[in-house]
Amino acid sequence: MSATFDPIAPRPAPVRTEGFVPWVRRNLFGDIKSTITTVVIALLAVLYLPPLINWAFVQAVYQPDAEACQAARGSGACWGAIVEKYRLVIFGRYPFDDQWRPLLATALMLGLLVASCTRPLWNKWLVVRWLVVLGAFLVLMGGGWFGLEEVSTDQWGGLPLTIMLASLSIVFAFPLAVLVALGRRSHLPAIRTFCTLYVELIRGVPLISVLFMASFMFPLFMPQGMTIDVLVRVLVGITLFAAAYMAEVIRGGLQAIPKGQVEAAQSLGLSYWQTQRKIVLPQALALVVPGIMNNFISIFKDTSLVTIVSLYELTGSTGLAFNSDADWRPFKIEAYLFITAIYFVFCFAMSRYSLWIEKQLNRSRTR
């Protein structure tokens, strides 16, 4: 008997599960429903994307030429309208020759905002930096010093105004919100009731009614002969509004701090304010940074409402630039797309940052 060597048949190679083709098979043609969906969406894309690309790029007019735009109307976009009007859209009615000032001021403010987002700079100098940059911003915008010509606030507008309203109201709202949040958790009934009433009243009404109040009623509130600039009034309104929402976010953070922390602080003999300042707030505020960031995003978007009380921030200045000009008015939609892109870039960046910082701050909790 001679033993012959019979090799068993080789096993088939394992199915590839990594790489492009298996991914496509799993995610686009996983089962019959998924396949149908993919095919339908692809068909729709083939039908509607080419005309859209055609409109937006191929047949679009890029030169600021109103007649060419008029000729291409309906078949191509008129990006020339933005080339023609972008300075009016971005800076509003600010004097044309001095527009380097809002540009510089906005750059400073943006630089500060970005710097404030990096954790190594979260220290006591942050307040000083803010005060210095705010002073520089106001001097640059308003003028009157260092040989800069004075520009009254009703000429401020566009993106600088949007950024100023958003950042100032958040900065002013922050200390107020901390106090209100502490007040809502206070043991003193009168203070607790007042803070609760403030937060619930403000959160129950739309921002536009607060702005109407700032615009129509504040002048009546002031002593006789005293007038306050409409910009300041609106800023106060937005600040009071933002503070109520932020107070709720901070209260959430305060609630997350275990009671033992406060009791430990008390047993060490710390007073109420020492406990809050040294023990509770540092922990609570670190928890709510993403929430405050979301507040900032919604306030940034909400600044567009001041258009309704006749302040020309980004949305308002776009209307201003196009409504009064019969040649360019038909192309307002392109301008709206332009400022949509601006808002989107800012808000998207901030929401990404908010996600990132959330991960950073939670690093001590994950294992």
Binding site: S209, F212, F216, Q224, T315, Y343, S351
Partner: protein, 396 residues
């Protein structure tokens, strides 16, 4: 013998000295109340003084005088000779109309998109993600303005409206759709539908009891739908089976007849719904993600079908996470409907704005706006609070 040390007196709670926490608290509160009262008095005093010197009249008596302006769209009969209070009522009804329809549509669209984030198909996932990021990062006012511009610029003029089968018309004048002529038959059909809902609820209760007693599950969804439809149909038959429809048709100048939604209403509705749906989608996604994966596995190991495990296991748990933020989104939508003033939809803010310009009674008109929104907000939160209590875990 033991000598006992006399126990020290505990410090009195109401010791009238600065060292007593009670006294300090009292002093702080008195000071705070005094400061608030002073500010309120100061503002009120200034306001009264300013009003007197500027000759501004105050009081709500103007509400009884004739309004003198027309309103573009209304749910109740109104003309320019009617008093102000009726104009405000029209505004409030318009606000509620856009808010209620908006909330229903937002819930449907937002939920679909939120679930779409978990789709097996990568394109669907990507589209849903793109939708959420795009729509929530652009101010809602800008979105409203864009929709309005689209409706008034891109759509055809009213004398050459687009139509589908001569039944649905779309033009700068808005959308016109066929509507049944409201009569006895329709009324009875509506009554029948309500009666059907009640009967269906009774049936569901009975089916549930039976399930708990015997473990035998009866189908509940399709029988309920059938009950409602059949009873409504019976009501319609009892009313003489009317078939009259009010069908829109192309006139020389504009589309006539039918039920018409104006471009202002549509722009506000679309803007609010698209914006809020992005947030609702995120809320739904977070809710579904919060249910532990083991729950689904346990449900399928018990032999529940996909639909049953969604209805009986996942949703009840996800709802607890979803409801509070969902309430906030509903309130946001209602409050954002005040932006209608920017495009001329006659909601309560827009009517108040006109009234302020005509009568100069800013304080009263703004008070009315705030009162309306506060009432709606409180009512919505009360309702959602009740619902949340029902959906909460029953803890022992």
């Amino acid at each position: 013998m033991s000598t006992s040390i006399a126990p020290r007196q505990p410090p009195k709670k109401r010791d009238w000295s600065w060292r007593s926490q009670y006294v300090r608290g009292l002093v702080y509160q008195v000071v705070a109340l005094g400061a608030i009262a002073f500010v309120v008095w100061f503002l009120a005093h200034n306001t009264l003084l300013n009003m007197r010197t500027r000759g501004i009249q105050s009081g709500f008596d103007f509400l009884l005088g004739p309004a003198g302006f027309d309103i573009g769209e209304m749910l109740i009969r109104y003309d320019a000779l009617d008093p102000y209070w009726k104009a405000f009522l029209v505004g409030v009804l318009n606000t509620l109309r856009v808010a209620i329809i908006g909330i229903i549509l937002t819930t449907i669209i937002g939920t679909l998109i939120g679930i779409g984030r978990f789709a097996r198909n990568a394109i669907v996932r990507g589209l849903c993600y793109g939708y959420v990021e795009l729509f929530r990062n652009v101010p809602v006012l800008l979105q409203l303005l864009m929709w309005y511009l689209l409706f008034t610029e891109v759509l055809p003029a009213t004398y050459e409206a687009w139509n589908v089968a001569q039944l649905f018309f779309l033009s700068k004048g808005g959308i016109a759709i066929p509507a049944p002529v409201w009569g006895l038959g329709q009324g009875l059909a509506a009554l029948g539908a309500i009666a059907g809902l009640l009967i269906a609820a009774v049936y569901r209760g009975w089916a549930r009891k039976r399930f708990e007693a015997t473990g035998h599950a009866l189908p509940t969804i399709w029988p309920s739908v059938a009950i409602v439809l059949v009873v409504a149909f019976l009501g319609w038959l009892a009313g003489g089976a009317p078939t009259a429809w009010n069908i829109p048709k192309q006139g020389d100048v504009m589309v006539e007849g039918g039920m018409i939604a104006t471009p202002e209403f549509l722009a506000v509705l679309f803007g609010l719904v698209m914006y809020t749906a992005a947030f609702v989608a995120e809320v739904v996604r977070a809710g579904i993600q919060s249910v532990a994966h083991g729950q689904v596995e346990a449900a399928s190991s018990l032999g529940l079908s996909r639909g049953q495990s969604m209805r009986l296991v996942i949703l009840p748990q996800a709802l607890r996470v979803i409801i509070p933020p969902m309430t906030n989104q509903y309130l946001n939508l209602t409050k954002n409907s005040s932006l209608a003033v920017a495009i001329g939809y006659p909601d309560v803010v827009s009517i108040s704005n006109t009234a302020i310009n005509q009568t100069g009674r800013a304080v009263e008109c703004i008070a009315i706006i705030m009162l309306v929104y506060l009432t709606t907000s409180l009512a919505t939160s009360a309702f959602m609070g009740w619902y949340n209590k029902r959906a909460a875990i029953k803890e022992r």
